[in-house]
Symmetry: C2
Subunit: 319 residues, 2 copies
């Protein structure tokens, strides 16, 4: 087994494996982030569902729970984004992933404070903008990823080679990655590492509702869909809420109607409170491959062991 | 360089490289199929755009142009499908790929005549049905693929591991594959080989219109989209025709209205006649990675050389 792996991503974050756990609303607080970091990956807290004071508490608890590097994801569409930026600076966070917005403004502010900045993109054009803004790396996220998604619908298989061609900074692949073989495939395509979301939703340490975890492990192929394209496209598990939106979309409902049907607090209702019928359940297509709930350390080990075996015997299950 | 590669796919078809050129309407006649077969892959003629007597002529010309194995793709929704089935039997074709329909009826008939039968699917449930029907292999085609596509929108990155788990018969990956690294990634995910369409559309031997080839090499990321989901979903290059359909869909147009807007002969108009504005231009997301038009043998060699290099140095461009 390869116990260590040195490349641009492990060096950038000073971690053992080039595995980043995605910052996810209602899911990745200090418990999950510190568990992944302690396991040799990079754990990220998802600040998009936290009030500024809650983020501060999570950061402090994470510091107490791990001596390893960890980071915070900040969606730039967050209403109080300035406060989150100030919090990570005040708390001397070393790594920040930004998403859902323009990286131009905040990248330079964060970097002035010595913070490593990574931006999440869905196209090579956005990746170039992130590189130009001074980001240290990018996450390129394919159509199959859960949650907020790009408009061009480029899949990981196609997106990674395109972003690899476009930028020189280190590249993390996201979308459709829950296993070691998927990780290796993404790196063969040109990524230096991976950002994994859905698989960690089904970890013991994830703070989302237990019923949501059960719904994911029961879900099958075709059970997720990219929805609400007239607003911001979101990949979610099909349920009553999805069906309502889908029927409205099929009849040509305007953006405003979809926004009204969505209302407020749907994601919290689904993912945190476990309302499987009427909540928004953000998850990626790989949910169909996820079959159990485990401690984060076992998930990291399992992915890494499979990756390692696949490096040594790439075609072993093909004969 | 690995000059030969022995696995279940090369053995099944008796070919040098596990590379199949997809049978494509208005694109893959005897010229392209024989060129790919002569290059060490498996060439397929696309019978979906041929009258029965035209198919017969193409088969006879292909036999004259190569002594290597080649095959015919038959879409099972073809109106005169019985005639095509009879033609391949009469002409003693050894390999048939079926697509777009239920493999149950024709697989047994073809196999009674000693024909190797492969069916194209978009989900593991359909893959299981193909295996149960007696197919010798399946092609699993992801959301990123050009032309007709599945309803579940599962991408190659997720679909291949799912189909690998579901069936025991050899598996070809399709969708998002135009380079050697993409081929290796697909095989790492569980495929025994690949079926490549879009890349061969930009070959000298492809019979589609030169303007369509030019449009593909000029196309960028995000220029294809899955359209006409209320009929049969088709991935195509965006143009006036796409915009018309998209606007109607956005306003909630019924299936019948979309069918009327589509009309008849759109694919021929676009791909064969080169009407880039009002024709249907079927192509995959990888069009953004295709930059030139070459002889098929050079395409096969290029893919194989890159595959071979990537096997030896999987992370070489990552440092």
């Amino acid at each position: 087994m390869i116990t260590s792996f040195n490349n641009s991503i492990t060096k950038l974050f000073n971690i053992q494996y080039p595995i980043v756990q995605a910052g996810m609303v209602w899911t990745s607080g200090w418990k999950l982030a510190s568990a992944v970091s302690n396991a040799g990956g990079l754990g990220l807290m998802g600040s998009g569902s936290m009030y500024p004071d809650v983020l501060k508490q999570h950061i402090q608890k994470c510091k107490a729970a791990t001596s390893k590097p960890f980071g915070v994801n900040i969606p730039l569409i967050y209403p109080d984004v300035e406060k989150h930026i100030q919090t990570v600076i005040d708390e001397e966070i070393k790594i920040v992933f930004t998403s859902a917005g323009n990286p131009k403004k905040y990248t330079s502010i964060l970097k002035q404070h010595g913070i490593t900045v990574v931006h999440v993109v869905s196209s090579s054009a956005f990746a170039l903008k992130a590189e130009d803004a001074g980001c240290d790396a990018v996450v390129a996220e394919g159509f199959e990823a859960g949650g907020h998604n790009g408009r061009e619908e480029t899949t990981t298989m196609v997106l990674i080679p395109l972003v690899r061609e476009a930028v020189k900074i280190p590249l993390l692949a996201a979308g459709g990655i829950a296993t070691g073989r998927q990780m290796l495939a993404a790196m063969i395509l040109g990524a230096d590492g991976v950002q994994i979301g859905s698989r960690f939703v089904c970890s013991d340490e994830a703070s989302n509702h237990a019923s949501f975890k059960q719904a994911i492990i029961k879900s099958k192929e075709g059970d997720t869909m990219l929805s609400m394209k007239k607003l911001i496209p979101v990949r979610l598990l099909k349920n009553n809420f999805y069906t309502m939106i889908n029927e409205a979309e099929s009849k040509g409902a305007a953006k405003e109607t979809i926004a009204e049907l969505l209302g407020h607090g749907r994601a919290k209702k689904g993912m945190l409170e476990g309302d499987l019928n009427d909540g928004e359940l953000e998850i990626g297509e790989v949910s169909a491959l996820i079959k159990n709930i485990k401690p984060a350390i076992e998930i990291v080990d399992e992915i890494w062991n499979e990756f390692d075996k696949a490096v040594k015997n790439p075609f072993s299950f093909n004969q």
